[in-house]
Assembly symmetry: C2
Homo-oligomer: 337 residues x 2
């Protein structure tokens, strides 16, 4: 069954069938329905190879996913994949470790797959223009910016939440519930990264509310947002015997590991210690207790990253820098002191 | 910096550099080290375009992921992506809903992307040969088989656990802990699927141990392994006031939703009700309590799926049907009665 057969059965031209399949508006509703019904009946699958061949280059858009265990990125990848599919391109993902070099991985992917564009799902915040000369196609930094780096805003696009503000709001929520002794779990990734901004937001909130920072309440963990390291870190904090009534973690999965450590040491959440996080994963709604967390707009972030990239690729549109808002989802893991 | 520059600096031929980069064995260790050092120093990135052009067809391997919220598949996709990358192919994933038609999605993907091969991550167990004529490339059913269908074994490959046996073993574990009143949460997906096999395993274990099946203890949920539906289903069971001391769910995330429902109704896990599941996600090690679950060998399943597919694609090797073993990971969610 080819497009010619469909045309013959429907008594219309091949180009009319093609217009229907490609959703062109200049087809009458009657003809459109007739063609689509025949397509359905015959189980015809449009062959886009011809269209692909017309394109002078490949239709590949690379997505470098940094942090293979990152559930937030796993959720986002589905949205990005769907949006890239809808636009008629091919998503080519590459998964790298959370401490790997995403720029190099992106550059290799670009050459191997002749990419048209690139989305970095996670990365460092301190790129230099020299480093980024490796990348020869438009790219979007998704979930991060270049605020510690020296790229010019016109040379890249970014979609993220305001990490500093989001951690500030999370901390503020704990403070407004009466907490003063607030611990924080901060991954000690070797590069200047998302942890640093969120940690600064935490410190700013303490300062603005006149709460002295106690370095004994800072849990630095190895790795980047790993659950085992977080669990161990909170266990160390508890063994120290230092007093605290609330705890901030920088991601949902590390919050679950932190709650586990507290509970394994006989501390009830939130009665003995409140816990708040940043991400808003589906699974953390079913944590015990339900996690209170700042929800990143994962759908919107993915959708906007693809939109901006396509706009630059196809229309040469200027770069964009979108800051989206994370909103508090009140669960059961925070209570008034 | 091109391969010619590297050759010139090292004082060797271009083909020698090429042999080093492509890991051919016929290069002396001294030359190999010298070339790799120069590649590292110069930050040279091999350009595989030429190799790609030599290939007569595309290098795309499609992966249809059925169930966009499935964390087990999210973990597996990383392994599959890494293995496909290592073999020099391009992974092209497509995410579809858990009730969507994966064969049709695969067929469309095959035509759009000129696939060389296809991995179905999740699907129906009852394919007919007629349906599968849509697929014109070698394919592997990953995490399922065709045991309710009529495909010939030589026409497809599969990698999965023994779903019946795994559910049997999980149920047996509860029975050996003294449980007799065991509830089960079973998604009522419209097609004959993984739920049916696992449910049968549950029923077989009850039968073998002389426990009469009580249909009041069966929780049928809408959707396929969704957390909200599971939560609601267990709440309904609890509202009925029917007595049970243990509960089997068919996946880790639904187990977390079930534990949440129990706890929200004032039932402690495992003191008031034991819970066991199938999957072995990383995150369920940090559930509260730690989930007791049958761990699927996710790494091995992904690796073997790619190996079998490549072997068929490249060497015309016969199809394979691998049954891997799921192993009990004892957590804290099951206790002796």
């Amino acid at each position: 069954m080819t497009i010619k057969d469909i045309a013959k059965v429907c008594g219309v031209s091949v180009s009319t069938v093609s217009r229907v399949l490609n959703k062109h508006p200049d087809v009458s509703e009657t003809v459109r329905r007739r063609v689509l019904q025949e397509v359905e009946t015959q189980g015809y699958i449009p062959n886009n190879s011809a269209r692909d061949l017309v394109r002078s280059r490949s239709d590949a858009i690379g997505v470098v996913v940094r942090g293979t265990g990152n559930l937030f990125f796993a959720e986002m990848l589905k949205t990005i994949g769907r949006e890239i599919d809808r636009a008629g391109y091919t998503m080519v993902p590459r998964f790298i470790d959370s401490d790997a070099d995403e720029v190099k991985a992106g550059a290799i992917l670009e050459r191997e797959k002749k990419l048209q564009g690139l989305i970095f799902l996670g990365g460092r915040f301190d790129y230099t223009p020299a480093e980024l000369t490796l990348i020869g196609v438009p790219y979007v930094c998704c979930s991060y910016t270049n605020c510690f780096g020296s790229l010019e805003e016109k040379d890249y696009s970014s979609v993220s939440i305001d990490d500093h503000l989001t951690a500030y709001r999370a901390t503020e929520h704990l403070i407004r519930c009466g907490h003063r002794r607030i611990a924080a779990v901060v991954p000690s990734c070797s590069d200047r990264s998302i942890s640093e901004l969120r940690y600064d937001g935490f410190r700013s909130a303490l300062r603005d509310y006149g709460i002295a920072f106690d370095s004994n309440l800072l849990v630095e963990t190895g790795g980047c947002f790993e659950m085992p390291e977080t669990y161990e870190g909170v266990c160390r904090l508890l063994r120290c015997g230092v007093d605290f009534t609330a705890l901030l973690t920088l991601s949902d999965t590390t919050a679950m590991a932190a709650m586990k450590a507290l509970q394994d040491h006989g501390r009830s959440v939130p009665q003995d210690c409140s816990v708040i996080a940043i991400d808003g994963l589906n699974v953390s709604e079913y944590a015990n207790p339900t996690l209170t967390t700042m929800v990143q707009p994962v759908e919107e972030m993915g959708r906007e990253s693809v939109r901006i990239l396509l706009d630059t690729m196809e229309n040469g549109a200027p770069t964009e820098h979108l800051r989206l808002e994370a909103k508090l989802r009140a669960g059961q893991s925070v209570c008034d002191l």
